[in-house]
Symmetry: C2
Subunit: 155 residues, 2 copies
DNA sequence: CGCATACAGGACTAAAATGGTCCCCAATGA
DNA sequence: TCATTGGGGACCATTTTAGTCCTGTATGCG
């Protein structure tokens, strides 16, 4: 499936909700009601987003959560990384290769490239895009493909 | 993490192994030894790949597994789908939207577009690419980003 | 025919990740 | 001082994942 976890999905929804009204802080229960998700779970998600530096929090009455920076500077990668850790498609996609199969698998290097391409793609999608009601249009799909294929076809 | 499951990873490794010697059939134990993974697990993976139509099998002595079509016509998406089901980043990324939050989440449409872009990217990576010892080069990363951003910045 | 080889299918178990809840503490502001 | 609101983490139930094993079936060969 290559699926995001539910919490990541929640995080995106909640972030989008905040992004639509960035001025004042949003309390956790308010957000939970707005997106129709269980309060404790939303709260948990918010805490993770704060720790990742995507949100800032204000305690006390009239407190709540706000975006740490403009929505256009928060990417899908950021949100995913906040909940699930850095985007990496395989164990050996991140630096500390604790995969003892290197040498036998002969696929690691290429998976890492694919992983990088996916990450780059997700870096290009910002919270501003996700939050806008009009769907983002991906007018051309093939260029992505051709970029990926370009050099490999020669190799 | 947006990570592939281990089985998917195994599948890719095993497929690559077969792709490097496409002529004769490969028995499950032989493959397991070659890639240094437990026999039963490799066997299970192979069965899934057969059911997905990516491999064909021959029973009896001298039997084993072969690619169902040329490595250049088997994509990363195919392999992932064979083990994990169709690539989709969120529940609502596939057609039968059993997500009752539509309307509140306001993110679904855009996630679907992102999902599609990732899938397209993975469609562009073939087993031939993965199997080759020389790493595939992704010379330009930014174009992927700019394609994604292009229309959305206008929207 | 009989037997060894090799895949097919699925049941089953153990371990890990996930999703979700709850509790107590700390900070803020009226 | 007290109500409000987030911070941190423990905790549990469920699901998913990984891995094993067993029984059946097809093929090829002597």
């Amino acid at each position: 499936m290559l699926k995001l976890s539910k919490l990541t999905d929640y995080a995106a929804v909640v972030m989008a909700q905040i992004a639509r009204h960035p001025e004042h802080p949003h309390a956790a229960p308010e957000l939970a009601d707005a997106v129709m998700l269980p309060h404790p779970t939303v709260s948990k998600t918010l805490k993770m987003l704060v720790r990742a530096g995507l949100l800032t929090s204000l305690r006390g009455s009239q407190g709540g959560y706000r975006l740490a920076r403009p929505a256009s500077q928060i990417t899908a990668s950021d949100i995913i990384a906040a909940i699930e850790g850095p985007v990496a498609m395989t164990e050996c996609s991140h630096a500390d290769g604790d995969c003892e199969l290197v040498g036998n698998c002969g696929v690691a290097d290429n998976w890492q490239r694919v992983s990088l391409a996916v990450r780059t793609l997700l870096d290009g999608v910002t919270l501003a895009h996700l939050a806008q009601s009009a769907p983002i249009k991906l007018p051309v799909q093939l260029p992505i493909q051709s970029v990926t294929l370009a050099a490999s076809a020669e190799g």
